[in-house]
């Protein structure tokens, strides 16, 4: 095991104000279970889970309330004991509507005493087979906790003919304000170590690269200690501080120098599997303790919060409860963001609840909020230089403004990772990233329509 500096530097990237000092070094605080939980059936990428309970049912902590529904899907378990109040369509952090189970955690079933037994039987990872371990990751409802929420069991089981050569742990956390992963690495380095051991076994002993940005020396020290005795090709790679260092493609390039080709290629096509550090710790808990993924660490920060904190809260905690746990609002926020400032989602209400992918909740006062304008592009090229995917965001945004989605597609808009580096530096305050999103959504809709048409034609 050794610690090295990243020897590959990708082109592009920006340096936003990190504002990490607000929550940096704040020990993870476990939040008591709030009176009401809103547990979404769509906390991951892929098909939403199928709801298995009905209003009036009592559920126990860890009970499956949503069943895995398809290949790319994971189950949802109750984050706490309680009574199902209702099942409703609720607005999710990303703006989509999904079925959610509303749990009243104050109501307890009569007679039955709560048991302290583990939810799933603990497994000895050395003795367990690869299939058993994969099944456990799936049963525990684990999905990527970095943001996209890709089902982890699917990722750990590469398709036939593809081998994982490198397991890359994403601890870059390049998003401003967020310190959740940072704090997990500092406090739970031993769990990450165990998770790596388990994942290596599942993936056939690949080499391991742990990517951490240089602004987290305490995390590097904690990981060095936890991984001191690990065998094989394991390196902690210290990345230069640069946004978007945490992007999967750029992290693969920064750690092992490989370039993931254009979509639909995946990291596994270049022999890499990238997992967020929080996910790795969750795998360790699921296997060794039999504890499914029911809660996660979320950074609550921003200049409108009384006391920024890193909170371990059940998945399904309403934002209002998180804010109350942090002492409430210092000033009325002008913008509330689920996630970080570069890629997070603005939300309209604090009634929205956390999911497994909620890494942060930011309340920003009007001082920290800027307004987009519809100014003309002055062709300055800042977005080109900032784009880590080396696209031409200025061109794309101009043609999307003119409703010419085809031209945007020809300019590779589908490669866009929506990191926001283009809009961040735009002197005309143009909505470049949103233009890319618009083009991508429109192209995806067209492709889906074409597929449906082809399927209908084939059906005839």
């Amino acid at each position: 095991m050794k610690t090295v500096k990243s020897s590959f530097k990708f082109r592009g990237g920006v340096h936003p104000d990190y504002n990490k000092e607000l929550a940096r070094g704040k020990a993870i605080e476990k939040m008591p279970v709030p009176a009401e939980l809103v547990v979404s059936m769509s906390q991951h990428l892929g098909a939403p889970a199928k709801c298995m309970v009905k209003p009036g049912d009592f559920v126990a902590r860890g009970q499956v309330i949503g069943e895995k529904n398809g290949f790319i899907s994971v189950c949802v378990r109750a984050p706490a004991d309680g009574k199902v109040k209702a099942i409703e369509k609720r607005l999710g952090p990303a703006g989509g509507m999904a079925d959610a189970v509303i749990l009243d955690t104050t109501a307890k079933p009569d007679g039955e005493a709560a048991t302290a037994a583990p939810i799933l039987p603990p497994l000895d990872w050395r003795a367990a087979s690869r299939e058993e371990l994969l099944k456990r990751v799936e049963d525990a409802g684990i999905c990527g906790m970095g943001g996209a929420g890709f089902p982890t069991a699917v990722k750990l089981n590469p398709p036939p003919g593809k081998r994982c050569e490198y397991l890359i742990l994403n601890g870059a956390e390049c998003e401003p304000y967020l310190c959740a992963d940072h704090q997990v690495m500092v406090e739970r380095a031993d769990r990450i170590r165990l998770g790596v051991d388990i994942m290596r076994k599942v993936l056939g002993q690949p080499a391991v690269r742990i990517a951490v940005e240089a602004n987290k020396p305490d995390a590097v020290a904690a990981l060095e200690k936890a991984f001191a005795d690990i065998e094989g090709n394991v390196e902690i790679v210290v990345l230069p501080v640069m946004y978007p260092q945490g992007s999967e493609k750029h992290q693969i390039f920064a750690t092992v120098g490989r370039v993931v080709p254009e979509p639909p290629a995946l990291p596994i096509d270049v022999g890499c599997v990238v997992e967020n550090v929080g996910t790795v710790a969750a795998i360790a808990d699921a296997v060794e303790l039999g504890e499914p993924l029911l809660s996660r660490v979320t950074t609550v920060s921003g200049d409108a919060v009384v006391e920024p904190k890193n909170i371990l809260a059940p998945c399904g905690t309403k934002y209002a409860d998180l804010v109350a746990f942090c002492g409430g609002e210092k000033v009325p926020p002008a913008k509330v963001i689920s996630g970080g400032t570069m890629m997070g989602f603005a939300v309209s209400t604090l009634e929205i609840a956390t999911t497994r992918t909620t890494s942060g909740l930011l309340l920003l006062s009007s001082k920290r909020v800027f307004q987009y304008a519809s100014g003309a592009c002055i062709n300055c090229g800042r977005c080109l230089r900032a784009c880590p995917m080396r696209l031409n965001p200025a061109f794309i945004s101009k043609v999307v403004d003119a409703n010419d989605v085809k031209a945007a597609e020809d300019a590779h808009v589908m490669d866009c990772i929506e990191c926001g580096a283009c809009s961040f530096g735009c002197p005309a305050y143009r909505t470049i990233t949103q233009s890319c999103r618009r083009a991508k959504a429109s192209i995806r809709a067209r492709i889906a329509a074409e597929k449906a048409k082809a399927a209908a034609a084939a059906g005839k």
Binding site: D17, K249, H250, F253, V259, G425, T433
Partner: protein
């Protein structure tokens, strides 16, 4: 009846939710700051006529911009300072002694015809200041080619003169007939040219802002430091001029670079965002094209100076260059 709304709404926007604070206004302010040294040099060498020309152009550009926006019923854009930059650049590309009404006509043409007619900042195909200069050069050829001598008030008997470019043109001609003419990097003693040092500080006749190469270089260094411009266009432009004149002979290569509009053209006019390519490779092609056309005009053209025409011609092919030099995405298949 409308239900009650919560008093305060959160702002809803797509990510990113943070900004670098770069703004058009700040960029234009940087350009103005970068132009101050050469403006000061122009005033130092040409005195009050330079001051009046600059003031007239800037004021006329601002007023024209305001009136155009008013006429088009669009929001005012004076605040972004781009009209000030256009006015200043135009003034710096005019001879100091030009009648002020001509400066007014040029400024109105720059903002009205070359910029606002196309929809304002960001839409104009040609650099407004240069297009206006070309317009004035054709319309008012005499006054536009009458150059005040630096410190003209010291020699009241002969206040005007020809620029070194005219002498350099004859050197090209001499070169083709008698190739024995000595040429080199800095041997400026030939053909009655001023000393290289005078060309560098600006002690030569010419437009207000183009004479002092050193002042322009200071401004360009500031723009590079502030990351307002990149090195590509100035480097490609100047290198092309330099290498061309080494190969083609005639006046010394350094003299070709230091006189006329090459320095201000390469650093301030060709680097105009709107009318230059956006990609790095495109910028190199653009700079090369500007330098080449400029030198071709200087050697073979009807005018002694071709810098502004070179940049205007390259402006017109800028969309084509952009199209040819699209970047290849990270991970794109070949």
């Amino acid at each position: 009846m409308k239900p009650k709304e919560t008093a305060e709404h959160y702002i809803l926007s797509s990510s990113p939710h943070t900004h670098s604070n770069a703004s058009v206004r700040r960029i234009m302010l940087d350009v103005i700051v970068a132009l101050l040294p050469t403006t000061a040099a122009g005033v130092y060498f040409f005195g009050m006529p330079a001051v009046w020309t600059i003031a007239t152009c800037v004021a006329t550009c601002i007023v024209t911009e305001a009136l155009c926006r008013l006429a088009m019923k669009r929001e005012s854009t004076i605040g972004d300072l781009s009209a000030v930059v256009t006015g200043l650049l135009l003034a710096l590309n005019l001879p100091a002694g030009i009648p002020l009404w001509m400066a007014v006509a040029g400024s109105v043409f720059a903002i009205g015809i070359c910029k606002q007619v196309f929809g304002g900042l960001g839409m104009n195909p040609f650099n407004p200041a240069l297009a206006a200069r070309a317009f004035m050069l054709i319309s008012f050829t005499g006054p536009m080619t009458t150059w005040l001598k630096p410190f003209w008030w010291r020699t009241p008997e002969a206040m005007t003169t020809a620029t070194p470019l005219a002498s350099m043109k004859t050197l090209f001609a001499a070169e083709t007939t008698a190739s024995a003419s000595p040429h080199g990097l800095c041997s400026a003693a030939t053909g009655g040219l001023p000393a290289i040092w005078d060309m560098a500080v600006g002690n030569i006749p010419g437009c207000i802002g183009e004479v002092s190469a050193i002042a322009i270089a200071i401004g360009a260094a500031y723009l590079l430091w502030r990351k307002v411009i990149t090195w590509h266009i100035p480097a490609a432009f100047l290198m092309t001029v330099f290498v061309y004149s080494l190969v083609a002979g005639g006046a010394p290569a350094m003299a070709q670079v230091l006189t006329g509009g090459v320095m201000i053209g390469a650093c301030f006019m060709a680097t105009d965002y709107v009318t230059s390519p956006i990609t790095a490779r495109g910028k190199l092609v653009f700079g090369f094209g500007c330098g080449l056309i400029c030198m071709l005009i200087r050697q073979f053209g009807g005018y002694p100076e071709g810098c502004s025409f070179a940049i205007l011609i390259m402006n017109s092919v800028c969309p084509l260059i952009n199209r040819w030099t699209q970047p290849k995405p990270f991970g794109a298949r070949k």
